[in-house]
Symmetry: C2
Subunit: 572 residues, 2 copies
Amino acid sequence: MASTAYDFKPTPESIPPPNIELKLKLPQNIPVNYHPLNPLDFLLRAALIYPHKIALAHPDVKTPAFYTYSVWAQRVQNFAYAIIKQGLMPGDRIAVIAPNVPMMADALQGALAARVILTAINTRLTPQEVTYILEHSGSKLILIDSEYLHLVKGTRIPIIISNDTGRSGDPYEDFLSEGRRFSNEKGWSGLDMEADENTPAMLCYTSGTTGRPKGVLTTLRGTYLGAVANAFEGQMNPDSTYLWILPMFHAAGWTFPWANTFAFTTQIAMRSVDYPTIWKHFLHSNVTHYCGAPTVQIGIVNDPAAKRPPQNIRAYIAGAAPTAHLIGSLEKIGITPIHVYGLTETYGPFTRNYPQKSWASLSLEERSKFMARQGHPFATAGDMRIVYRPEENPKGSNGGLVDVPKDGKTIGEIVTRGNIVMKEYFHDPEATKQAFQGGYFWSGDLAVMHPDGSASILDRSKDIIISGGENASSLAIEQELASHPHVLEVSVVAREHQKWGERPMAFVILHPEHAAKWHNRHDEFTKDLKAHARKRLPGFACPEWVEVVPELPKTSTGKILKTQLRKIVAKL
Amino acid sequence: MASTAYDFKPTPESIPPPNIELKLKLPQNIPVNYHPLNPLDFLLRAALIYPHKIALAHPDVKTPAFYTYSVWAQRVQNFAYAIIKQGLMPGDRIAVIAPNVPMMADALQGALAARVILTAINTRLTPQEVTYILEHSGSKLILIDSEYLHLVKGTRIPIIISNDTGRSGDPYEDFLSEGRRFSNEKGWSGLDMEADENTPAMLCYTSGTTGRPKGVLTTLRGTYLGAVANAFEGQMNPDSTYLWILPMFHAAGWTFPWANTFAFTTQIAMRSVDYPTIWKHFLHSNVTHYCGAPTVQIGIVNDPAAKRPPQNIRAYIAGAAPTAHLIGSLEKIGITPIHVYGLTETYGPFTRNYPQKSWASLSLEERSKFMARQGHPFATAGDMRIVYRPEENPKGSNGGLVDVPKDGKTIGEIVTRGNIVMKEYFHDPEATKQAFQGGYFWSGDLAVMHPDGSASILDRSKDIIISGGENASSLAIEQELASHPHVLEVSVVAREHQKWGERPMAFVILHPEHAAKWHNRHDEFTKDLKAHARKRLPGFACPEWVEVVPELPKTSTGKILKTQLRKIVAKL
């Protein structure tokens, strides 16, 4: 990568002037001993301390680009001036629709510099969904990668197109260059520092598996503290290289855009999640960190190119618990899983599974049961509790929340509070009020509390399977079915049952190495899997039906779409 | 250490009840998405996540003690209740006079839990100085190690004595046990969480090399952010072991009491800085981190026991720049220096020397010149500038500060601002106003700014030597003299000179390995050292006089007392 980086010439307007001052204009009368927390500061510090280090590499395109911290900071400054030139004011919203390309990385930093609120829209949504988000957010400008223009056909909102070339003549590059000219070389000190750290930072729309997506509004303070925690938990440092597998539009990349600048890492951008390219970087670009849901991780470890890279890699896993098989597969090739849990409403990770020395003596299967727990609140997260839902416990009705016992059995809902809980649902005071009851944010995730104070998620409230009056966790069933050596991936949903009300149905992708064995013998595989389940699960949780499928429906962020599986089941 | 730790039985009152809730009482009406930053939270998290890990070890005394996070947190809780039982109210001051023993570690955490302000007093002060601090701080209680009782003879302030036994019957243990009984098992939730993160945390008196010591008041927010930065910069983690060489009473241990709990490390307490014991722990207790001034580091590398430990150690160095010789000696035995700079007024470290890849190809001497720079503002520090002092530059007189050019030559004063600048000088609005002019804290340190935006300190303003109208930095002279292979330690001060006004005089300790060579031949050594200096320094900066001495006068924190050297010089 290095030789290509040396050849790359950024546009002339991306080159900072000599002796640039990397400081925003201080607010008037700010106290000597107070500085509003702002994650943009990390980029400015990096440009001061490691100006010539590659901050952002985009190597896998026809016209690769490699930005040093010094150049990238200048481009972010140009971005801010370009936004201001458009007449946008602090607090206005702008949208970006793009994969993990430099424009997206710029926008996440540059919006903070311009003090506008960025809405990064999921590129896999339908035009109707995109229109809804643009309207709901009141976006006044759209930055869009040319591959996704069909999503905004006919919009009246001004559009800036990027062809992702990084070269003069690209409309996005012209936009930045105009910003530079408009700045009149006033530089960073021509941009006001936001005085209030509780000012909104990002507007992230939830994937909305049920109903309309909701706009999660984050703050500067929350983003700062979340980013610091993510950098610390993964022990990121200036020798780290972060590979952008997680979409940056997913909950603003779980604050990793700023965790990376905080730690002075090199970030590698990729237009799409493509396993051969991932492995190229694992093996040849010294990647040390990445984030991904278990489905993505499964794809990584099962790629034919998979082998132990020369360096250790830390993988943040969230979205669902990693199975024993996945943990084993990752560790075998030198990838250390960091299991975290959170939601868009908590800036991404809020809890972490903290490894314990005592696990060292356990078998992989035993250890994985502990590692599958969502764990404890992480570095800068506040309080997490698992409480009875109001309808289940009248004691809670006086406003005080009641914790479930720490027995690893009693189901309650995860509630959180603290600095990395969102500010609000944008323009939706009703939904905000609903979510913020009793002084806590209600996650919608059902879980149990173990005696050690760590949490295990059983299900989203709607994913629980009620079989003969018993609550069966679809996640717990999946966890056990996934331990069958021939199962690559599995998802379990409720299916109506005359006698028991509901019974679990499993959808299974076979492991490619073993698929041939069961070819045209799915009935026998079903028997084998059911026998496997009976040894590990209570009767009410054993799957009544098993269907072998070539693939599972997934969201753009790799989460399995149980809603679609339920639709299939409803027709059976 | 481990086997002894298993044998240790804490007092019954140190054992937490089963199913303890590790949460303070939330303030009324606190928003869901706001949590006041408070470094005490780190200990509670550690006790939740790693309850059985050794948090605090005190092995080198007649009755060793080993506290797990679970037990230590309970003792801190007992401490808080014991303080409250004394009738102390939030904001009241208490004093502690002790070396690095568990009582001191408890007090640094427990004062936060009780919401009183802790003044940790330097044990090497005179009784008069101690009396001044006790009176100025208005301390209402003194916790004191029995070795230091002579410092408070005749005081009317209530005293709690520790015999540092950790066993029932020790008055300090009785104090904690009373706290436990007084708590009536209300636990953590019987203690109020401080709602305002800008509330004072610690009251740290400066060493006061000139005039009365000043009381530096810190805040919860600043301590939290400083601690996170120190943990991050040193890549501390749950596998780390921190050795308490730096006195905890020195600027509240540079926030390391909380950096350690943030990172879930094991801390090892020592009553005194004793090189054989340090080496015992380096070689056998898996120490990974410690802090110390260069003089302490020199003692460490020159100890006969010094050899490469099995693990890598990171040494935070502050108080003065490390010399090439020291850096080389540390690296040779696997100790990585982290050069930081700060003052009590900045919670300890405010800047860090950030290593650059380009230094790898330099000789040790060349590289050391870069590593001796104080560097750039570190992780959570705010802004640092080097500005003309008001008397030197009339342009600054309109209130705006004027930066010196980034030429590595022009001398100005370091000023800082941000979250890790103190709240104020306690009960001294005049001194606070003086220190907080033009929106910045004036450090009193003279420095130059290099073209890369990093700072090099030349001197405290009073340590500069004005020779024939030229400003000679005593630090720069010391740096060059220290590169003479026979010099162990050196200090340079101004001495009156008829022709030049002032000329430098050097006080030198010879390296023990070479001292014999110069026995009774100090004149020849002087010639040799002057010749060495002339090759490296401009004429006005070469020492006119050299005196070989067996030791140098130092403060309790290892800083050389130039005031005393000046007194000697004045009599010559």
